[in-house]
Symmetry: C2
Subunit: 485 residues, 2 copies
Amino acid sequence: MTYENFNVEELTPPSAFTGSKLPIDDVRIEDFEVFGKVILLLFSWQELTLDIDLRFPTSLDASGSDAMNPAGDYSATHVQLKTNTDLKGHGISFTIGRGNDLCTSAARQIAERLVGKTLGELTKNMGATWRFLVADSQLRWVGPEKGVTHLGLSACVNALWDLWGRYLNKPIWKLVCDMTPEEVVACIDFRYILDAITPDEAVTILKEQAKTKPARFEDAQKSEAVPAYSTQAGWLGFSDERMIELINSNLSDGIDKFKLKVGGNLEDDIRRVQIARDTIGYDRTMMLDANQVWSVPEAIEYMKKLVKFKPLFIEEPTSPDDILGHAAIRKALSPYGVGVATGEHCQNRVIFKQLLQAGSIDYCQIDACRLGGVNEVLSVLLMAKRFNVPIVPHSGGIGLNEYTQHLALLNYICISGEKSLLEHINSFSEVLKYPVQTKNGFFITPWEAGYSVEYKPEAIVTYEYPNGSFWQSEQGLAIRDGPKL
Amino acid sequence: MTYENFNVEELTPPSAFTGSKLPIDDVRIEDFEVFGKVILLLFSWQELTLDIDLRFPTSLDASGSDAMNPAGDYSATHVQLKTNTDLKGHGISFTIGRGNDLCTSAARQIAERLVGKTLGELTKNMGATWRFLVADSQLRWVGPEKGVTHLGLSACVNALWDLWGRYLNKPIWKLVCDMTPEEVVACIDFRYILDAITPDEAVTILKEQAKTKPARFEDAQKSEAVPAYSTQAGWLGFSDERMIELINSNLSDGIDKFKLKVGGNLEDDIRRVQIARDTIGYDRTMMLDANQVWSVPEAIEYMKKLVKFKPLFIEEPTSPDDILGHAAIRKALSPYGVGVATGEHCQNRVIFKQLLQAGSIDYCQIDACRLGGVNEVLSVLLMAKRFNVPIVPHSGGIGLNEYTQHLALLNYICISGEKSLLEHINSFSEVLKYPVQTKNGFFITPWEAGYSVEYKPEAIVTYEYPNGSFWQSEQGLAIRDGPKL
């Protein structure tokens, strides 16, 4: 990849992008650190053997509770790539609780393969770099390209993109938007997707969009590119009163689109959704999310009881692996005007390819960590454009929303050309150095260099478990021995 | 589950099945051990931090080499369930090299959830026990039900079945064959497969087969139930001379069906397959295996160059996740009389369900470890019967063949009613206490209690790395610093 194309004049950002003065081949990855951090704890309190263990007392409420995950310690596998310069690459993969132990081990094995290489050789052909990282046959065997090993991969790949962005002093969304079509396509490994999209077809899509890119970049500058919706009112564990209160506070903040968790109990769901719809009003967008609890026939039967509340879509009605099952559910619900969405647990580009080929989904919910980092996300965004399916990224985790704002922006500006809804979640965003922000129902465009996920030092001092100041306080000591899974 | 149905008179085995005198609720799992064992090492020699590290000097040949795995340390995650009695349950999950580190960690987390429970409560409703093990939301999040966490699960589930078999003093195949249809179905978690098969439909299939079970049991007693085919002549790294020599030695042993690895290089493949076919003769069965190297269009184009050699099927032509891709390849190759097979990397029952629903495969290649143990295998065998697709289990690993002989037997006797080919691999089988054996082209029916995977102590003394007698020998020292991946 050449750098002439990163023409900072072409699209004018608020601040000039100077980038690093160092030749890119003089920036060498010399070491890495992998941390597993528990950064949102609900009901379970088992010890974790991690370098740093950050815990927040959200067991005091029920944020994050859904039909499949009653007790989700929100965690992150955090990779830091260290170089021979003061540049560092920060990457995370979002997980839950003990599962994070496995992902940090995987990330450690994968990060080792980057040590000693220069940023220049790694970014010259990003598609080849990505293929190199997934082709390690000893890790591939226990996947391939899915689950623990793929989550570990994304923490490393996201850290590499973050390092690249910091070197160029550009946010990731702009780094991609400034690439030529050929440069974007060079970031993608097309193995297993050639029957859905070829490199040439991808270049054609990008060239077509390039013509109208500047107008959409202006939307980004005005922070009117990415409309937000909220999930935070609709957690399954919330009381009706709390749900109503949160819907109203979102409305007064200018966010008027909402998603509710369902799938626990039909009568409760009918009551909650009725109350929510009455509060939101039928003229605004409401979505539902079942988190995979149903088999296909159960999903259809259950949802027929909820269609009268006019949800835009039902998210994760069944197993994320079930391409044909989602197609059957979509066929059964489309007469009622209810769409089908999935993706936060879709393991890789091969599953997304088939969801699109089979007409299984109305909305494609890419995840910034479940997929193997930015490279694989780009391949799914291009396939979604090819099949004319809008994306609605998954942001349900600490740090995910900071990633997805970049993906929604670059998708709008250089791939799809159309604005798409983005899930807004900011609980505990104060632990992040650059948390997402919204204004008038839109995300405020991020301009800091890199991929926007970095933690504040003071968060560690307060919440490190068990020595952080919170955990030594009376309140902290009182809830430390909460129920174990 | 009741035990009256284990009527030892009903089907007469060579030796009487006395079983344990202890009430099943007095057998309590009190502890467990998880070992990661490297039991076949090819080209890479990195240190592994495992309890026991067994290594065999097969870097001296190239067994196990294929188009995707040039350097596969054959490994196993080995779980031992210890009880308050002298009964122990042994289970393994087959992996490769460093990937085993991740699977042993997963198995440790899963095995912990069995401690303190009795064999009675765990086997009373095996379907519920299996659901309990996969429903741990903190591990489920990093799957769900696939890859590292599912491989760790199968080592634990297989150990539980082994313990159950030893308690009843029955081999696993007979334990299942002695169950009533309702008892078999009670072992299965039907979540996500109800659109393909219901519990009632499964019972109907089993009842129909029960009528003719005794005749097939007689085949098992005569060791004429499971015909064998060999993969061992066809590893990609073998010379033409060695391939010919191994084909001929198999023929003289009575094994006249063969599978060859392809996908490395078209000209080499054409030469190797031509030589193999000439040696085998066109009147005998030959199969090909590409180990996932191709995209869908590449698979079709490449295979059209090989159809003239009349293979029975092409195995793993593309990604194991690609249900629609396999259907497209099958459609393109069926005019040439070449079938499509896959399964050794199919992550769970949801993928198998769709491969069957979409008509993607001619042969269903279940794996005893990739799927979550015996319970999930039973669900796939029943779906395969429902869709009239024969099974050809994957045995390509040390210990796998010892498992698949049980699965092929129980499938023939009580589920499919038809004999199916079983892959025969016995390299390094001398490390096992009860290795598979063949006679006149059939597997010799195993009668030892349990699931047949247990290692000999003398194997450890000889091959433990780096202190085993082999590794301290001149030859061992000479190859210890072989190439690293």
